[in-house]
Symmetry: C2
Subunit: 211 residues, 2 copies
């Protein structure tokens, strides 16, 4: 099946469908109706039918969706049927938290190395067995190993420069936790996780809630 | 100034304006034009004028915005002119990363305690001096100390139950890092940071980029 370009709003919802379908599979459910998904996910059934229509005729009237088929098709669209080799820049608490998160490995995101500028960490392993290298060896490593995603778990001052180097080495995707926007060429993909901004949205909604 | 209800799309952009205005203040800039902001932020100048119009007449034609005034007004709208007392559930790497993040403290988010079920952590301090308590003491703590935000940095199986307890104790805002949706009453605010979903969006965009 050829991936189609889907509206950003639908794409934003796909990982959530994928999560719920994964839970249904864990519970050995074979089929699910739009009504059942609606109740679980707090989205209207018509919205669900509309979203899932983008992927061709998975659903059958009165019979529901085949959970495993839909899970796998959405997985393919999300690129989860491939192995992504990932490096993590920064072996502080955030970098370690990401390296420890077993769900990523299960979905094909394989952490192949962590990089830190602290001499004492170089040559050690993370608790999950990922080798930690010194930052000075980053470019040599990337030249010798295929890397599809670089995770930036370092402060913003360092992140911009490291991203520039990695782009020059051919890295084409960044998962950016640094509190800054990266300036990258148009063929490079960046997904930002700006935690401060998330916390401010929470604070805004708390404020509105009091009205 | 009374906070007004602003469209969700504009609210989503406010923290980013706040960040850029903060950087301008650090650089001692007193005024900024929509054209300059446009170049920095890669948003059109007309979009910027439209967004900032929501807050009343900050800008003057040909003269630009007063950086400090705009920064403070957006800060008030985002609720950053208040102190938010925050507890972190889970003193693993993710919880520690959040507790260590100095920017939150600067913006009024004060971490007053961390909770973990590991006996050996109870009674210790995080590297930034936050006391770590045993999970069994959570409800007593919340009964005795005002807490406005609970951060859930624990696996999903535990998160749902802990959130239920905290809601019963009167906590009205959650910053949820657990990979699940919380089922809370309508007067409780939840901001989710679902890292797996963010990583899947990255993977989707990598896939689309190859076309």
């Amino acid at each position: 099946m050829e991936p189609k370009v889907i509206s950003r709003a639908v794409v934003e919802r796909l990982p959530r469908y994928y999560r719920y379908l994964g839970e249904l599979m864990e519970n050995k459910a074979e089929r699910v109706s739009s009504g059942e998904l609606s109740e679980m996910m707090h989205i209207t059934a018509s919205q669900i039918r509309q979203d899932l229509n983008h992927f061709g005729g998975f659903g059958q009237q009165g019979y529901g969706y085949n959970v495993e088929y839909l899970y796998n098709e959405i997985g393919k669209i999300l690129g989860l049927n491939q192995v992504h080799r990932m490096i993590i820049i920064g072996a502080g608490h955030l970098g370690q938290a990401i390296a420890n998160y077993g769900n990523f490995e299960r979905r094909g995101f394989r952490v192949v190395g962590m990089f830190d500028q602290r001499e004492e960490l170089a040559g050690t392993l993370s608790p999950t067995g990922v080798p930690i290298y010194h930052m000075d060896t980053l470019e040599d490593f990337v030249a010798g190993h295929p890397v599809s995603i670089a995770v930036l778990a370092i402060p913003k001052a360092a992140a911009v420069e490291v991203a520039r180097k990695l782009v020059a080495c051919g890295v084409r995707a960044f998962w950016n936790f640094a509190h800054t926007d990266l300036d990258v060429p148009p063929d490079v993909v960046v997904e930002n996780v700006h935690l401060s901004e998330s916390l401010m949205r929470l604070s805004y909604n708390m404020n509105m809630n009091k009205e």
